[in-house]
């Protein structure tokens, strides 16, 4: 029994590790694919070289991000079975079809058109190439749609029946399952998060190059576009997050109690705890700095609305408070900082100083990785907040795991940790190296790979690695 407990803890660590690493890449590639589609669209419409250059610049980065997203994503599609086989057996009839739809409508679309997007412009022409870029961008969106539907169903399961063999089986309507109560909120919140992640990564890169050369047209353009996104999307995200929180309060109150650090019920208006140290033993938040009644105002839009605390939840159903409390604050704190950068950029833009305020650029540079951290913190909040269940309220995590020996899980966890840090560590280093290079007037094709410059670059140049791959057809993107 002890060993079984260890096997489950290790399996949870493994899932948390592999899914966290994985999500960094789609969080970036969802936004980046749309960004690339916008750049190519603007280039086709205006014919301005700066868009084509930025497209080439970010396409190289996209290719690396996408490759890492694909290989870490394949791992996820097997993890359900290798480590959570009881969950898979029971929930398979409901979530399996949704994930199959993800493969059929998204993965093939992305993979099928990625080759053309990366290598094919000289073969298919600009218009068709733009179609390929759009297909990849739409594919990332469709993928998010299905997988978030699955995740949301696990958070707010509806529309199912329990069969005689213990399986969750679909009820009358698949639409009820797909559009389960938390899905629309989670989808919008996550997509906006992906856009913000990309906006701040792009903005950080733009800021870095502006600090070195504020006349660089590529750096100016990308910084300006990123700051528009920050100014518009960050406030939208605050609103979307608020709706998502209210939805969570309705369907998963224990999660919100943990996020808020409300061990006790507050019959006449609950305070908003800004900071503090949750103390699950004494069931209180130590050193709390709080604003009276603000939590009730945010969650119920009424200062004096009563809010239940974790004292109303059976101990066996209580999520870990400390992790959820902190991850939530990290997410919200970064979100507020994003809004701040957006406003700051508007002020600079109004004074026509967007490219001239180095402190704005330094702040944007510092905020470059903020989206990734916020996204991970947000996922920790929602996933740990769902505990101790895999399917909220109906299937416990301890009853979901595969019948595996603990050493098997320990070895595989170790292997994932070593391989991921080595491989993706190198990958992230390559990304930073690509980002360090300023966007140039004649940005090279996505890589020195001969195939990508088909018909442009003389082979010996490429092979010796010292060629300047081609702008023989400078009008072309690749």
């Amino acid at each position: 029994m002890i060993e079984q407990e260890w096997a489950i803890i290790l399996a949870r660590m493994q899932f948390a590790f592999t899914v966290s690493f994985h999500f960094l890449f789609p969080a970036f590639s969802i936004g980046l694919a749309s960004f690339l589609a916008v750049l190519e669209g603007l280039w086709l419409k205006t014919g301005k070289g700066v868009y084509a250059n930025l497209y080439r610049y970010w396409l190289k980065i996209f290719a690396v991000v996408f490759a890492m997203g694909v290989v870490s994503g394949i791992v996820m599609s097997y993890q359900f079975g290798t480590n959570w086989s009881v969950f898979s057996d029971k929930a398979g009839p409901v979530i399996g079809p949704l994930m199959a739809y993800e493969v059929l409508t998204a993965f093939f679309l992305e993979a099928g058109f990625l080759g053309v997007m990366l290598f094919g412009i000289n073969k298919v022409g600009r218009k068709l190439h733009f179609v390929a870029t759009l297909a990849v961008a739409v594919g990332t969106f469709i993928s998010a749609f299905w997988i978030l539907s699955v995740n949301s169903w696990m958070q707010t399961p509806v529309g199912y029946e329990i069969a005689a063999n213990g399986q969750f089986v679909p009820g009358d309507s698949w639409l009820t399952i797909i559009f389960n109560p938390s899905f629309p909120y989670r989808l919008i919140h996550t997509l906006l998060a992906a856009y913000l992640t990309t906006a701040f990564a792009v903005g950080g890169v733009g800021a870095w190059h502006l600090l070195k050369d504020k006349a660089n047209p590529g750096a100016r353009k990308m910084f300006s576009m990123a700051m528009w996104m920050a100014a518009i999307v960050a406030p939208l995200q605050v609103v979307a997050g608020d709706f998502h929180g209210i939805n969570t309060l309705e369907h998963q109150p224990a999660k919100v109690m943990a996020m808020e650090g409300h061990y006790q019920s507050h019959p006449d208006g609950a305070p908003l705890i800004l900071f503090g140290v949750p103390n699950s033993k004494d069931r209180t938040v130590d050193y709390a700095i709080e604003i009276p009644k603000l939590s009730s105002l945010i969650l119920k839009h009424d200062l004096n609305a009563p809010l239940d605390g974790l004292d109303t939840i059976p101990d066996a159903n209580e999520p870990p408070v400390g992790i959820v409390f902190w991850s939530f604050r990290i997410m919200v704190g970064l979100g507020m900082a994003m809004v701040g950068i957006g406003l700051w950029s508007l002020a600079a833009r109004a004074r026509k100083k967007l490219y001239d305020w180095p402190w704005l650029h330094r702040a944007a540079l510092a905020m470059g990785p903020s989206g990734f951290i916020a996204v991970l913190a947000g996922w920790v909040t929602t996933e740990v907040g769902r505990q101790p269940f895999t399917i909220y309220g109906v299937l416990r995590t301890v009853d979901s795991a595969s019948p595996l020996d603990a050493p098997a899980v320990a070895f595989s966890l170790l292997a994932f940790v070593v391989v991921y840090f080595a491989v993706f560590g190198m990958g992230i280093w390559y990304l930073l190296r690509l980002m360090k290079k300023p966007p140039e007037a004649h940005e090279a094709p996505p890589s020195d790979a001969p195939i990508r410059s088909a018909g442009i670059t003389p082979a010996p140049q490429v092979l010796s690695g010292d060629g300047v791959p081609g702008d023989a057809r400078s009008g072309e993107i690749v």
Partner: protein
């Protein structure tokens, strides 16, 4: 025909599609260190760079389809094949990123080339081992796997592991014969010739060993009058091998690849004959493992619309990159 059979057919189609499409690009990874660093390796890599990602998606389709259509089988097979599955996934990580990383870092290209080969070899070997482990039988109690974490390991599963390595390498060599020119093509033809014989020996050994594993296999293949039909499979295998070598001698470009695929097709047919109608050989039938009717119908709608579309744009993408790939790209 009931939906469960249709779904078994769709999963079977995904497996065939996977072997047809990802087999050759894994095979190129296996053969990679035998090609000269520089031009030849770059050409070999470039012949698959635009399509490998789509090819690998069929692997996700296979396992995703299994979860959706036969959740019980998914829940038993994956824990049973835990070590080979994890090894395969990690192998795919290495080879997948190598496509990008080797161009990003010329100083360490040798390292990523090695990662490409190692990853391709491990992923292929693990797939072969998994197949062998499945065929030799896994311990099932109730709705769960009940064996230990080394049950997959046996002489038979190692044999199937090496068998698949040789098989994919053959597909890779045939692909390069089709898509490249000059010395690289000649090298590929030489390898294809040697690998063809090796594969035939492996198919023979694995087939004979399979007959001893479960009474059902023995009955299926050798009992009268079924044997009159099943005997056609080995006969066809020999015929296909003959045509394969004839095309190879006549220095045809594309045809040997398709004859090699036919060889794989016969192996998969043989596999089907052995295990039908089970999804976990000799333990769980497709009907026992099937998802409920509503799940099957819902997915069937999606699959009947999407699979033809996917096949169409996949074909288009192959057509875009048709012809020989030179060392300066496709031309």
């Amino acid at each position: 025909m009931d939906l469960t059979v249709i779904w078994a057919g769709i999963i079977g189609f995904a497996i065939i599609a996977y072997v047809v499409m990802d087999g050759f690009d894994l095979g190129i990874g296996i053969l990679f260190p035998f090609f000269k660093a520089g031009k030849d390796r770059d050409t070999a890599m470039n012949s698959i760079a635009p399509v490998w990602d789509g090819n690998e998606t069929w692997l996700v389709m296979g396992v995703g389809g299994l979860l959706a259509a036969f959740p019980l089988a998914y829940a038993i097979i994956l824990p049973a094949l835990y070590a080979p599955m994890i090894a395969m996934l990690l192998g795919l990580v290495f080879r997948g990123v190598a496509f990008e990383f080797r161009w990003r870092d010329p100083d360490h290209r040798e390292l990523w080339d090695r990662a490409f080969t190692t990853g391709s070899f491990i992923a292929t070997f693990a797939q072969g081992v998994a197949l062998g482990a499945l065929l030799q039988g896994i311990t099932v109690e109730g709705r769960a796997y009940a064996g230990g974490w080394w049950e997959w390991l046996s002489l038979f599963s190692i044999l199937t592991g090496f068998g698949l390595v040789i098989g994919y390498a053959l597909l890779g060599a045939c692909w390069l014969n089709w898509k490249t020119e000059g010395s690289l093509q000649r090298q590929a033809v030489t390898y294809a010739g040697r690998l063809g014989i090796s594969l035939l020996v492996m198919i023979g050994a694995i087939s004979l060993a399979t007959l001893t594993l479960e009474p059902q296999y023995h009955m299926r293949w050798l009992s009268f009058p079924g044997v009159l039909a099943t005997a056609l499979v080995p006969i066809a295998t020999i015929a296909v091998t003959y045509f394969f070598y004839r095309c190879l001698r006549q220095t045809k470009d594309a045809q040997p690849f398709f004859w090699a695929l036919a060889l794989f097709g016969l192996c998969l047919l043989g596999l089907g004959i052995s295990i039908w109608p089970n999804v976990i050989p000799a333990r769980v039938t497709i009907w026992e493992a099937a998802a409920p009717y509503r799940s099957q119908v819902f997915m069937l709608i999606g699959a009947s619309i999407m699979v033809p579309i996917i096949v169409a744009y996949t074909a288009w993408s192959y057509w875009v990159f048709r012809g020989k790939v030179g060392h300066d790209g496709y031309h």
